[in-house]
Symmetry: D2
Subunit: 141 residues, 4 copies
């Protein structure tokens, strides 16, 4: 772990962005898996109800081949960084194609290198702890 | 504008994801400009102070060639979707290289097709309205 | 609906904040129901794994009496604005009591006046549309 | 610091939520200062341009007496938890009064007990590190 008190020398950074990335070609790619939870909001729509748009996005998710799960406040998706960001970008593009003039999305993105953990594993880990607590409480009563 | 009451036929969707995207090669790209405001959080660090990490990210931003601006709650960056998502992904990768085992980022991403607007233009537009209001109030008094 | 092109006169605003709110007493309250989805991150913890902390928050949620649901990227809770913000604030306070020195939370908050809709209803509405689409596609094949 | 490996006994939690909170009266309050950065989105508006609404929110901020700063991706505000959440809630209420039927806000909320730090201090801390790095690099060249 880098000590926050010690300055980081430039040499550890300069290997980034040495290739010339252009608009039409991607020279380097991000090589990391991530979990992203996104909540997309079409703006300037006639109606405040947007479930029809959200359904469209679910179809994009299904077609992407990535592992995903919809909940009431967003959609969680996991996979390689580039593919995950692509599918969210394609969701924006698709909204515009449907006539939405402005789209705003909030995304929570997580990456970790200490262990592999699928997004369902996180819920299971918390539920396991809660069950243990409940049993302790019951034993104490 | 799509009417939210009318069903959308499948034909408007099937052009997506027809190419076979793989982990190592990107067949299709998102062709849209965006503004992203991100707040990156290194997790499991020794200290709750993370300014040294945020400084590292600013250097990545500088090297990216993209237009960006740091504020107290995040960094705003604008450019082509892929490049913007790349630089955020590279920020995650860089944190891991520095020894951070888990990184969580919140991103607000906006795209719009009704007009071109740089992120500073948004602040200017609001300030213009506020100034007009103040002058109206002064004239009324 | 306010026309975005017409200036809003000051009279529509001045009724706000006329009472003197102090740190210890709340004179006015927000009188609106909301749905909030929050993702709380303890910072500066020894380990990048935080499921034990998240379990603590679930216990707070349970004790709050509010309707809530945990998913892999956060916890969704609905109720009166003040109570919802209180329980999230109490989660921050509880983390600090457990020794966490810094806490960062991302919250997505929604309010609407066009209809009452519980957070599960949103998922049901999208799934209904998806099922209809699938049936249409099947009928067309 | 709580060890993440050691179970937390129930006694450390049960002091919460012992008072009976009701919809109309708040028995307990959150006693903590916070910094919140929020991005409010009016939904179902006629136009995708919302600067007129954002200007309205800036006037609420000004009248709140809290320290705040607008940037292109949101507004940062700091103060006691309850007051900060109140002003965001009042922003939602005000939008509805103006005819907006649905409002969605993303908020990043931070609290810390290790030190007092104003939101501008965070930017200053990062800039100080960047300047030191630049001087080191110049000295090395």
């Amino acid at each position: 772990m880098m000590s926050p008190e010690r300055p980081i020398t430039r040499s550890s950074r300069t290997e980034h962005f040495t290739s010339s990335t252009t608009d039409t070609q991607r020279a380097t790619m991000v090589d990391i898996k991530c979990t992203a939870d996104f909540c997309l909001i079409p703006m300037g729509t006639e109606s405040p109800s947007v479930s029809r748009y959200i359904a469209e996005i679910q179809i994009l998710m299904r077609e992407s081949g990535l592992k995903y799960s919809m909940h009431s406040a967003g959609t969680t998706v996991e996979g390689p960084w580039d593919q995950v960001m692509d599918v969210i970008g394609k969701a924006h593009e698709h909204m515009h194609k449907l006539g939405v003039q402005r789209v705003q999305t909030d995304v929570r993105i997580g990456t970790r290198v200490d262990k592999q953990q699928s997004f369902e594993d996180k819920v299971t880990a918390v539920e396991k702890i809660l069950n243990e607590k409940d049993q302790e409480d019951a034993a104490r009563a």
